[in-house]
């Protein structure tokens, strides 16, 4: 320690400043902790405020909504929710949406699992180009395919069925699933495959018994993403359906009546579309943290 005995005024000042900085650095974490929490709280408020407003409005009668701005429902009513749960054209919208989302999740994961395994384990002719082609489908705007989709599904007689929407959503959901699963599978050492094959496992048996359980958290995250993108998509879903399989998103446009928009029902219907998402995210909350980065960290 050469600077323990300062010899010039300059050095004394420098040493004092250094000691001061050290003290401040040690004291900082507590205040920084609170600043962090403050910022986090501010962001959460920003996220929740529009949703709160929707919720607020869904419990108000239409006269209260249009009568003036109230920060919470003063005239608390469930009439909008009652209307949705008693009118079959409304609640069937939810049933239809959930039906095609679940169908799509099943189809996508079933064909994406082997494909992702092939991409993560083998090299074959055209593999890189094929992977890029898959990604371009993920990026293709649904608007581009709108008309031919309508024609195609109309011709094969699938128009206005749940399976039509489920198949159409495969366009972007299968590439997404392959992409995510490939990341997770590449994290599993290849020695596991080799050992299993030496132990006499056939490929299907190995895949179902050993490999799938090993990447179960990856599959959970993939299912979450599949749900998310199929649930939120509207353009294709409403173009490919008329009355039998109409998704909730296009039922909601009915609130625009002759006498203006029925704000209360719109808000209640909107609130109900958020709920399934919250349920799904609650189930995968521990896996999300592990694998939101598509298995690539």
């Amino acid at each position: 320690m050469t600077d323990s005995m300062p010899t010039t005024p300059e050095a004394v000042r420098k040493q004092a400043a250094a000691a001061d900085a050290r003290r401040r650095r040690q004291a900082r974490p507590v205040s920084r902790q609170w600043r962090k929490r403050g910022l986090m709280a501010a962001y959460i408020v920003f996220v929740l405020l529009p949703i709160y407003w929707l919720l607020n409005m869904s419990f108000q009668s239409n006269t209260e909504i249009l009568g003036g701005l109230t920060l919470w429902p003063e005239d608390f009513t469930l009439e909008h929710y009652a209307r949705i749960f008693t009118d079959s054209s409304w609640y069937m919208g939810y049933v239809n949406s959930i039906t095609y989302v679940v169908m799509n999740m099943a189809i996508s994961i079933a064909v994406a699992l082997p494909a992702a395994y092939a991409f993560s384990r083998y090299q074959f002719i055209g593999d890189k180009h094929l992977f890029f082609w898959l990604l371009t489908n993920l990026m293709a705007p649904p608007a581009v395919f709108l008309l031919p989709y309508f024609q195609l599904y109309y011709t094969v007689g699938l128009f206005d069925t749940h399976i039509a929407v489920a198949l159409a959503h495969c366009l972007f959901n299968i590439p997404l699933a392959v992409w995510i699963l490939e990341g997770f599978m590449s994290g599993v050492p290849k020695e596991i495959d080799e050992t299993a094959f030496i132990d006499g496992y056939s490929f299907p048996k190995f895949f179902v018994r050993i490999f799938i359980p090993m990447i179960s958290s990856g599959i959970g995250v993939t299912l979450f993403f599949l749900f998310m993108f199929s649930w939120v998509e509207l353009l294709l879903a409403s173009t490919l359906t008329a009355t039998n399989a109409q998704p909730i998103a296009s039922v909601m446009t009915q609130t625009k009546g002759a006498s203006g928009i029925d704000w209360g029902t719109l808000a209640a219907a909107g609130t109900l579309t958020i709920l399934p998402g919250i349920v799904v995210v609650y189930f995968v909350r521990n896996h999300i943290a592990k694998g939101f980065a598509l298995g690539r960290t």
Partner: protein, 90 residues
Amino acid sequence: MEWMVWTTPTTIFFSTIAAMLAGMTAWEVASPSIERKGFLPIATTRGDRLFIGLLSAAYIHLLVVGFTPLSIWLALGTSFLWLLILMRWG
């Protein structure tokens, strides 16, 4: 297939693309391509160069058709030449 409203030029176009893909696959089976660095800033395989060539051909056609009075055959010729240059030296 009637609803797909096929025309002769588009049929020829897609047949050519399909033939190209089949040809490239056969070539790849016969002699696997090795990644190499040509005048392009990245190392490419044969398939990469074909893709770059086709994508730039599409843009050349758009430029010629959209912003010049020139014939589309000129665009086709230029694209073909460019594709050959890319495949050989790219």
